[in-house]
């Protein structure tokens, strides 16, 4: 199964609830949100559900300055601090710390490397991130090593730099890569991606996953993770809170205090967007001509009771379950050309649905459609730049 939950604070029964659908592959664990004892229990629970567990060491919050903080990192021994000129001894110490943190909670099969956050692929910090990856492969064994890459969205603006970085990382004898790609804004629903940046992210996924045979996981990836799967990713991860659906390093550095409770949103698979349940979903449901906007299971859920009573917890589980189901559908198409062609077709149909909704007089947040179009354009750019034959 390709969809993973990105763990955050307050898991409750959400993991088990999503797993019930039978489409969940595993969980990316957050050591910042649970201490080792509790996280060990979580791992046992996850294993009991037949799912994979991977620990994101989250070391990208510390370097470069300003460093962030995470409550439980010291207890895991993961309060790792780097300088860009870290010595081999310091690199080894970091690798061993992550190894111990994994072993302490019972994660034994695949380990994510510590890394630093990169503003670009030609950054002062890039060599250190590569050293950490290579040292981990040496110490842990390549088949167990997943290289973490925490990087700004802007780094994908310069394909030449990305390409040179890819030349280097594809020499690593490792099992795969885990990406956390920093969006500049944390607003939700997210703003549309810069199409060129997103297309280059997809090219990286395609090159690593499809052409080089690595496992590629895209963390904090929301619905963008679905087009990542079409491009060759093995896993997409997203979580219950909005801050777990797009990566924003600032969240660790400048912790904001509370704010108002978010509005419950339902992910409408055929629109690729999280609509406000109480009004946007409700309005569409009231139009008989638009009922095909929803899948049968969505209609069953939405028509069961007034949407004004749809809770945040239910919305979170519905969001992850819908993503997991969509990921499963893509996963079942074995050939990348077929996956991309299918997803492009679905995006095109979704665009037509927005047209129909607009024609019916319902006004939706314009970000939904513009985001959808950015997904489609990025996927089309991927196909053109990599000359991928579509099936």
């Amino acid at each position: 199964m390709t969809f993973f939950i990105q763990q955050g604070y307050g898991k409750g029964s959400k993991i088990a609830d999503v797993a019930e659908g039978g489409n969940l592959g595993g969980v990316i664990l957050s050591p910042g949100d649970e201490d080792p004892v509790k996280l060990g229990e979580t791992v046992r629970m996850i294993r009991g559900l037949g799912l994979d567990a991977r620990l994101d060491p989250q070391s990208y919050i510390y370097a470069p300055e300003p460093a962030g903080t995470a409550n439980n990192h010291p207890a895991h021994g993961l309060d790792l601090n780097f300088s860009w000129h870290a010595t081999p001894k310091q690199v080894t110490r970091a690798i061993r710390s992550v190894r111990r943190a994994n072993e302490a909670i019972g994660v034994t099969d695949r380990w994510l490397t510590p890394t630093c956050w990169l503003a670009s692929f030609e950054n002062l910090w890039t060599p250190l991130s590569l050293s950490l990856a290579a040292a981990a492969a040496d110490d842990w064994g390549g088949e167990r090593t997943i290289v973490s890459v925490a990087v700004s969205e802007d780094a994908f603006a310069d394909w030449r730099a990305v390409d040179v970085w890819l030349d280097a990382v594809t020499t690593l004898d490792v099992a795969g890569f885990y990406f956390a790609i920093d969006r500049k804004s944390s607003t939700y629903p997210p703003n549309p991606w810069n199409v060129d940046h997103l297309a280059n992210i997809l090219r990286v996924i395609y090159r690593l996953g499809e052409l080089n045979g690595y496992e590629v996981a895209w963390g904090y990836s929301d619905v963008e993770g679905l087009i990542g799967l079409a491009a060759g990713a093995s896993h997409a991860a997203s979580g219950w809170h909005y801050s777990l659906r797009q990566f924003n390093r600032d969240k660790w550095v400048r912790k904001s205090g509370g704010g108002s409770a978010p509005t419950p949103r339902a992910l409408v698979g055929r629109l690729w967007a999280p609509l406000k349940a109480a009004d946007e979903v409700h309005y569409i449901l009231e139009k008989p001509d638009l009922l095909s906007t929803f899948t049968r299971s969505e209609r069953t859920l939405f028509e069961a009771r007034p949407l004004s009573s749809f809770t945040l917890g239910e919305a979170q589980v519905q969001y992850m379950s819908t993503l997991a189901r969509s990921a499963r559908i893509i996963e079942e198409l074995s050939d990348t050309g077929q996956r991309i062609a299918t997803v492009l077709e679905k995006l095109g149909i979704a665009d037509d649905r927005y047209e129909a909704i607009q024609d019916s007089g319902i006004v939706l947040d314009p970000r939904y459609r513009s985001r959808l179009r950015s997904l489609r354009q990025a996927l089309e750019q991927l196909v053109a730049s990599e000359k991928i034959p579509l099936v």
Partner: protein, 292 residues
């Protein structure tokens, strides 16, 4: 400085061999002769054209260092599709100067260049070339961490049974050793077969087994189609990367129905190293339909 050796001096210097005809030609910094022993074994006699000089620095010239590397490689590598040394290298007085020399197996059917010049390529030969050279490159890279970096039709010999043999380890790079050339200077190369990272100075330090796969892709394309994938009909090339980028793999469709051969050549000829197969083993998997 490299000298042209005269045939009479060479004949006189090697009484243990019968030299057949004159010099066959020059292979890089070496002169090549076809010889046979008194027992009738045919060999290739290779002589470094640059004479040995008393070098007080002890560093030697790049050519002599390459010769040392080549000989070291040939003596350490043992593989049916890679040329091996017959007589260990020695010094011999030839005319007025002393030269390094050795002998290696002689390829009875010449080289792939000879075969292609006679119109002898095609899809069966292309597949055989890919299978045998990938086997050789897998051995070079995985066992010895070496990159040949000069794969071209002249450097692929053909033995008596039609088997292909990778020749001339003269500019081979051992990734475990320091480079002979300046790290930031363009690396030694044969332009028509050079990979982008050999042409572009910024990437010269990134030469690895994928460089060999690019070159093998060019040779395989030539073997399949009889034409060069990028430079056919051109007398000079000012922007090779642009021509490599513009390569359209569909031009192979009319030459073979062998999907594995087409796919592999297309992957090997990608400009970026990261878009080529990661290793000769991965390339073999593509050839045999295992990977895309």
């Amino acid at each position: 400085m490299a000298l042209e050796l005269d045939d009479a001096s060479v004949t006189a210097a090697f009484p243990e061999y019968v030299i057949q005809g004159g010099k066959l030609g020059n292979a890089g910094f070496k002169a090549v002769y076809r010889v046979h022993t008194v027992g009738g074994t045919e060999l290739a006699l290779k002589i470094v054209r640059e004479p040995i000089q008393n070098d007080e620095s002890g560093e030697g010239s790049p050519d002599l260092l390459r010769f040392a590397r080549e000989v070291e490689a040939m003596t350490s590598v043992s593989h049916p599709h890679i040329i091996s040394i017959n007589d260990a290298p020695g010094q011999r007085q030839i005319g007025v100067a002393s030269h390094w020399w050795y002998t290696e197996r002689f390829c009875e059917r010449g080289t792939l260049a000879d075969l292609l010049a006679a119109g002898g390529g095609g899809e069966t030969v292309a597949r055989q070339l890919l299978e045998e050279m990938l086997d050789a490159l897998d051995h070079l890279s995985s066992v010895h961490e070496m990159v040949h970096r000069d794969i071209k039709p002249d450097n692929i010999g053909i033995g008596a049974l039609g088997e292909m043999i990778l020749l001339d380890l003269g500019i081979l790079v051992d990734l475990r050793l320091e480079r002979i050339t300046n790290t930031y200077a363009p690396s030694p190369l044969s332009i028509p077969w050079a990979a982008p990272e050999q042409i572009t100075a910024i990437r010269a330090n990134g030469i690895d087994t994928r460089t060999d796969l690019f070159q093998l892709g060019v040779v395989a394309f030539q073997t399949l189609t009889g034409t060069h994938p990028f430079y056919e009909g051109l007398t000079s090339v000012s922007d090779p990367i642009r021509l490599i980028d513009a390569f359209d793999p569909s031009v192979m469709d009319g030459y073979t129905g062998d999907v594995g051969v087409r796919r592999l050549i297309a992957r090997c000829l990608r400009t970026s190293q990261n878009a080529r197969p990661r290793s000769p083993r991965a390339a073999l998997a593509i050839l045999n339909g295992g990977l895309s």
